[in-house]
């Protein structure tokens, strides 16, 4: 099956007309990535990296300066109506019409897709139930907390039962319980066959949810891949457990700790493994386990951002 999203060398430059400057700033520089059907794709990057700009370009809020993007095979500019009929969008820090209640707003969104009357009321009730907002249906949006607005935003993005969801920072501003509920909802939607493209800077959440991630830094795509692919070369240290070693056994550059008659050895990097194993054997010891300790996404991400910045991106 074709990719749900294909971004090809998408570029966005802004000219600062407001300050009478003719200089243009490149916010997105030839971004390319693909999202496969049924996956949860995390679009990660530090603040100001270009995540929201990319999403705005995909949703027709801003026009790309060059490059293309296709959603479900349709060009986002030429076939924007087709794209929008089958896509659900949650903006960052959503803010909705003060003068409407939660229920009225969802029915308004449903009407824009041609869902009206009893069908709209039914759909609204289902969505409110899904996001845990049923008791707040009659609450004016101006009285909603940030978390409630986020849930309302999620509900409106699902009003047309879309195949593809584009969510900008869906868990930001939520308390731990709210975050868990949104994450559970994302996994539930994935089970129902939806594809989710979401931006985040909350990396443990992304790590728990994503099939693949893309890292954007300074308007350029830095890495795209599955978590095992990205983290495969990022072994931080190797933990070796050995026994029957003589008292005072030590390895150059490695930390050791005696635990329940066994020696726990921490090796810095894979290159020191072979010499260490050889030395253990020579000392008459036996190896019980060798466990490479991989970097988590947060550390990997911080390292990638640092590398990108050092490279001048």
């Amino acid at each position: 099956m074709e990719n749900i999203l294909e971004i090809d060398r998408l570029t966005k430059r802004f000219t600062d007309w407001e300050h009478f400057s003719l200089k243009s700033r490149t916010i997105l520089d030839q971004i390319s990535l693909e999202v496969k059907p049924g996956e949860i794709f995390g679009f990660l990057g530090p603040n100001g990296a270009g995540k929201t700009t990319t999403i705005k370009a995909l949703m027709g809020i801003i026009r790309p300066s060059s490059g293309t993007a296709r959603i479900m095979g349709h060009d986002i500019l030429e076939r924007s109506q087709e794209v929008k009929k089958r896509t659900g969008f949650l903006p960052e820090n959503p803010y909705f019409y003060d003068y409407l209640t939660v229920g009225e707003f969802l029915r308004f969104c449903a009407a824009l897709f041609g869902i009206t009357g009893r069908q709209a009321r039914q759909r609204t009730a289902e969505l409110l139930e899904l996001v845990g907002m049923s008791p707040a249906a009659g609450l004016p949006l101006r009285k909603c907390s940030k978390g409630m607005l986020q849930r309302t935003g999620i509900a409106q993005s699902l009003v047309n039962d879309p195949e593809f969801l584009v969510w900008d920072e869906p868990v930001s501003g939520l308390d731990p319980i709210g975050r868990k509920e949104v994450k559970d909802l994302m996994l539930e939607l994935k089970k129902r066959g939806k594809t989710i493209f979401f931006s985040s800077h909350i990396l443990p959440d992304a790590e728990a949810l994503c099939d693949r991630v893309g890292i954007i830094v300074g308007g350029r795509m830095h890495r795209v891949g599955t978590l095992p692919e990205l983290l495969k070369d990022s072994v931080s240290w190797i933990e070796v457990v050995a026994q029957h070693l003589p008292e005072g056994f030590a390895l150059d550059g490695a930390g050791t700790q005696k635990v329940a008659g066994q020696l726990l050895i921490r090796l810095e990097g894979p290159e020191s493994l072979d010499p260490a194993l050889k030395k253990i054997m020579q000392a008459g010891g036996s190896v019980i386990s060798v466990v490479p300790q991989r970097e988590n996404l947060e550390n990997y991400f911080a390292r990638q951002v640092r590398t990108a910045k050092e490279a001048g991106q």
Partner: protein
Amino acid sequence: MRRIFTIAANTFRETVRDRVLYGLVAFALVILPGSRLVITLSVGQEVRILKDFGFGAIALFGLLIAVVSGTALLFKELDKRTIYVLVAKPVKRWELLVGKYFGLLATLLLAFLIMGITLILTLLLMGGKPDGLFFLTIAGLFGQLAVITAVAMLFSTLAAPALSAVFTFCVYIAGTAADQLRLFADRMPGDLLKTAAQAVSYVIPNLQNFNFRAESIYNLPVDQSKIWLMLAYAALYITFALTVASIILERKDLK
């Protein structure tokens, strides 16, 4: 069409809940005591003066609603970023603009109904009664403001509300004196200046096409062709203003 109606209905709800109607209550409070003042000042001319005063007040309050709401509606959508949700749905930008325009027009119509009824009641209290010309004048005032609302929305795609409101108000003033403006343009020295002044005078809406106040107050006959001219001119000018506004909005990055 359905999407335009949905947006129009929502805009109507927005403007009505946005305390615009409170201004109309103020209007009712002004016109009724105002009429008593008129009676004491103009013996024998009460009904005429009241009509003139009432039409002026309707035009002023209507203008306030048209300019304040017309220039702020789109800006609020952009400023509060509520437009992101709309644009990401299968809504074309011109549909958004036209929907908002008709929503505001519906609010204006409601305001005219309330103000018109208040004026009629005051007129009846003073022994006068509304005739066909009375209603034609009200319709003319509504036509003027329908055009001005479109102009306000056009400016709102280009500038912030305060600046758009000033521009719209200037267009209204110039439009109510459009015939004089054209005479003035014809008398400009130098071909270039004359052509430029004439061009400006033709771009500014001629709101005198909508003015039946003198006919209504002095019971003068109205040529039916003037009514058709008013309708055609309003339709053309509104289409022109909204088309230009749509083209601008279509090309705009909604940051």
